[in-house]
């Protein structure tokens, strides 16, 4: 090869003997060096493909990626390091699964996308929405149905479900109608801020807090209730006390009771056959120390206040599966009770009778209030839908989720209402928390109460964390300004819960008032206004659409006003 090279070189080399000899010598030295190098020196920074950790994937640096890498290196030299002018935008960088970190020590690690959104298939998204929407309002659906009348209740449930679904759809679409700005990590309060300025931001925050704090108060009342009943069951079981005669209710193994017969019947109680006066029994020491309204709310403070002060709520997020289990258990419980009790339905359209309520009642506004909170997910639907794998199916998945939720509520409501033993008891007896209609000695219901108690203890700190993040974030900029700030907030929230549990433990009312309040703005008014404004800005507002959305706004406001008058 040396010879050939020198012969070729000769074609252009000037005829100089010294040049030739030098050339030969150079070539010879060069080749010796090459030989030596090949045998002894290892190649530096060479990463064998097989050393790539965590994925035996094939090829590795795609042509586009290597070209992009070269560009990024070069552009980085053209500006100051803090200058973002030539920094690669997100849509240009390969996704996390195609990024590797090469170590000079000879291995390459795949980049685990730290914040990379996990894309969920449709079924997971639908389930997540169902899970989030299913709250304690499921316990109040039979009562709400009773307040509205059976047929009217079913009609209202379906209508409110459809209306809230439409408003949810509006919220989902509202991010798309904002031009020029990257709205990919916006939630609904940000959209309100864009359209209505600071007023929109603060009002949407305030009403979102109303729903959260309302939920926390309901939780406190329910937890007191369940703790009381659980404790009572255990005490009665341990001391073998038979409580079956002290409450007004049915006889038999599947006992259903009416805890407040006078108030339910408006004082006009002509059925005295099974009514046993409670004044006969003396409150025992246990009853003094274990009272639903007097002492238990305070016991809960000792249990829950420390949990609220945790800096991070991720520990409690692990228990969200309990919520699903509890709903499934409730459905099973309802089915079993309905099978055992049988159906007791009579249709009286407009007049009420001794045992039955009319099918259409003027108190229906209470049910719409409850349902507004029951179908409320509008403050976090955008976040939930963001991780849907096939974004084009968002509307379909949302509708399916709402359908499932509606069916669940409908099932529980209809079953409990229909199975409520009406000849001895009046339908008016259905309690805002339908588990109250079962005595504390009922084993199935005891399990339900204990389970729900445990589940609520794990969700309560999560709710507290959400409230804290929103309030502290907006007021002070940080999620945890200091222990004192957070503690004060927690004291306030817990205080409201304790006061409600002591003086007004009617969860039906708490749910309907808070539901109608936050529903008015976040469900009806703001989404409709935002939609109409964005249409107006692009000049596409037609009068049927304006009419319909104005009607929605009026409905939302009427919903809230109706809570006070009906």
């Amino acid at each position: 090869t040396i010879l050939q090279a020198s012969q070729d070189a000769n074609r252009f080399m000037p005829p100089s003997p010294i040049g030739e000899i030098t050339g030969h010598f150079n070539a010879f030295i060069f080749n010796v060096a090459v030989l030596l190098r090949r045998s002894f020196l290892p190649r530096p920074f060479h990463v064998e493909p097989r050393n790539i950790v965590d994925e035996a994937s094939q090829g590795r640096v795609s042509a586009e990626a290597s070209a992009l890498s070269s560009r990024v290196h070069y552009y980085g030299r053209l500006t100051a390091s803090s200058d973002r002018l030539l920094a690669p935008p997100d849509h240009v960088i390969p996704p996390a699964e195609e990024l590797y970190v090469y170590s000079p020590l000879g291995t390459a690690f795949k980049v685990k996308g730290k914040e990379s959104p996990v894309k969920n298939p449709s079924i997971v998204t639908i389930f997540a929405i169902w899970n989030t929407m299913m709250g304690t309002s499921i316990l109040s659906i039979p009562w709400g149905m009773k307040q509205a009348g059976f047929t009217f209740g079913i009609i209202i449930l379906v209508s409110v479900g459809l209306l809230t679904l439409y408003c949810c759809y509006r919220i989902l679409k509202s991010t798309k109608s904002i031009p020029y700005i990257d709205t990919s990590d916006w939630e609904f309060p940000d959209i309100c801020k864009y359209y209505f300025g600071a007023f929109g931001q603060w009002s949407s925050l305030f009403f979102s807090l109303v729903s959260l704090i309302g939920a926390m108060v309901v939780y406190w009342v329910l937890m007191s209730n369940f703790l009381f009943n659980t404790g009572k069951f255990i005490y009665n079981y341990a001391h073998d006390v038979n409580m079956s005669d002290t409450d007004f209710g049915t006889n038999g193994s599947d006992r259903v009771i009416c805890p407040f017969p006078e108030s339910d019947h408006g004082g006009n109680c002509s059925i005295g056959a099974f009514y046993v006066s409670n004044n006969a029994t003396q409150p025992t020491v246990f009853d003094q120390w274990w009272s639903k309204t007097n002492t238990i709310p305070f016991y809960l403070v000792i249990l829950l206040l420390p949990l609220l002060n945790f800096r991070s709520a991720s520990f409690f997020a692990r228990f969200t599966f309990l919520g699903t289990l509890s709903v499934v258990y409730l459905i099973t419980l309802v089915t079993i009770k309905a099978i055992r009790l049988g159906f007791h339905l009579e249709f009286h359209w407009f007049e009420s009778t001794a045992f039955f309520v009319p099918e259409f009642r003027p108190l229906f506004a209470q049910f719409t209030g409850v349902l507004t909170l029951a179908f409320f997910i509008h403050n976090c639907i955008i976040t939930l839908m963001k991780n849907n794998k096939h974004q084009e199916n968002n509307v379909r998945d949302l509708s399916l989720a709402y359908l499932l939720v509606g069916l669940t509520y409908l099932y529980v409501g209809v079953m409990i209402f229909a199975a409520f033993p009406s000849p001895p008891l009046s339908k008016e007896c259905i309690e805002p928390n339908f588990l109250d209609n079962f005595p504390s000695s009922d084993v199935l219901v005891f399990v339900a109460r204990a389970f729900l108690l445990f589940q609520m203890t794990t969700v309560y700190p999560l709710l507290g964390y959400l409230v804290r993040v929103q309030v502290m974030g907006q007021l002070f900029g940080k999620h945890y300004p200091s222990f004192f700030h957070v503690f004060t907030l927690n004291i306030v929230i817990v205080g409201i819960g304790v006061l409600m549990a002591k003086f007004y433990p009617n969860i039906g009312s708490i749910i309907r008032y808070s539901g109608a309040t936050c529903g008015m703005t976040l469900v009806f008014v703001f989404p409709s206004l935002v939609h109409m404004i964005s249409l107006k800005r692009s000049g596409e507002l037609r009068w049927p659409s304006a009419l319909f959305h104005s009607l929605l706004i009026i409905l939302g406001i009427a919903n809230l006003i109706g809570q006070f008058f009906m």
Binding site: I2, G23, S66, Y75, T79, L86
Partner: protein, 336 residues
């Protein structure tokens, strides 16, 4: 004024914020100084500022909007950057009074459109007024239109959108002929577009190419590339077998420009480079007054001196080529 003494211009025009400064910086390896860019952005994109305020700015920092770079391009072409339509009232007046000066002696007009722009009508209006000025003052100029920031468009729509724009632009440009490219600084399209532009500006490029082929075959090189001197855009190349990496031209260009940037920090200038490996030997060297050459030999046993001498001899031949057929490039002024 004789045309040989007047420097011919390459006009890089477009709306403010369309990416001209970034483009120039990337192609010509100019460091973007933060202040001028920010000032420029403040003034140019200040549609909402009162005219008085911006007038004050412009009187004080009058040179900001008008970027006369001292980049020599293809011999003696000078690159000028102009913001079109940044401020409706002020720039229009400034524009019209200086119009003839700006548009005289233009060799090339490169107009940059932002594909995301919401004011298509306005963009076309400014483009047409530039074309009118060109027709009046430099009717022989070549016109190129770059539809920029295509990375912001979804991949499946890029072809469609570009085709639409191209049709509109070609229609609007009559009687001048414009060549359209779609570009983005985040893929190879920018480099390819500018390479095509430079290719069309080299006076006798086909002859250069055939001579390059002969040269490569004689010295038995694997690949020979011819780069434009200021920008390291590939003017032409020859390869004797299929190469794996389609992006190698841009990568080489980036590497050399980074090296040039480093050299300039030491007040040194880059002239030539030799890279050796067990598998190949690559030589980058000055070739003619407007070009650099890169020769890649896959037989590393051939001594460097041989190849360098070959290149030196070829250089004389190619310079003759340029001189003979290129009257526009006044090489007489080149003092070495």
């Amino acid at each position: 004024m004789s045309s040989t003494a007047m420097k011919k211009k390459v006009l890089l025009m477009g709306k403010s914020g369309s990416g001209k400064t970034s483009m120039r910086s990337i192609i010509f390896a100019n460091y973007i100084a933060r202040d001028t860019r920010r000032l420029g952005a403040t003034i140019s994109t200040s549609g909402n500022l009162e005219t008085a305020f911006s007038l004050l700015f412009c009187f004080v920092f009058a040179t900001v909007d008008v970027e006369h770079s001292h980049v020599r391009f293809l011999g003696n072409l000078v690159l000028n950057l102009w913001d079109c339509g940044g401020q409706d009232t002020f720039m229009e007046n400034y524009f019209t009074s200086q119009r003839d000066n700006i548009f005289r002696n233009v060799e090339v007009l490169i107009y940059v459109f932002d594909v995301e722009s919401r004011e298509l009508e306005k963009d076309m209006h400014y483009y047409q007024s530039c074309l009118e000025a060109i027709l009046q003052n430099s009717p022989d100029a070549k016109v190129f239109c770059l539809v920029h920031k295509m990375d912001l468009v979804q991949e499946d729509q890029r072809d469609l959108i570009f085709k639409e724009r191209e049709e509109d632009l070609k229609r609007l440009s009559r009687p001048l002929a414009c060549t359209c490219f779609r570009t983005s600084i985040w893929d190879e399209t920018l480099y390819k577009a500018w390479s095509s532009i430079v290719y069309q500006l080299i006076p006798n490029v086909q002859q250069l190419e055939s001579n390059l082929r002969n040269f490569a075959q004689i010295i038995e090189a694997d690949e020979v590339l011819l780069f434009e001197r200021a920008t390291f855009l590939v003017i032409s190349h020859y390869q004797c077998k299929e190469q794996r990496d389609a992006h190698r031209f841009e990568k080489i260009s980036n590497i050399i420009k980074q090296f040039k940037l480093s050299c300039s920090k030491l007040a040194a200038s880059f002239q030539s480079m030799e890279v050796r490996n067990t598998n190949f030997a690559a030589f980058i060297d000055v070739f003619t007054s407007n070009t650099y050459v890169m020769v890649i030999m896959s037989d590393p046993s051939i001594p460097s001196a041989a190849t360098l001498i070959n290149i030196r001899n070829a250089r004389k031949h190619f310079e003759k080529l340029e001189r003979v057929d290129g009257p526009k490039h006044s090489l007489h002024m080149r003092m070495r």
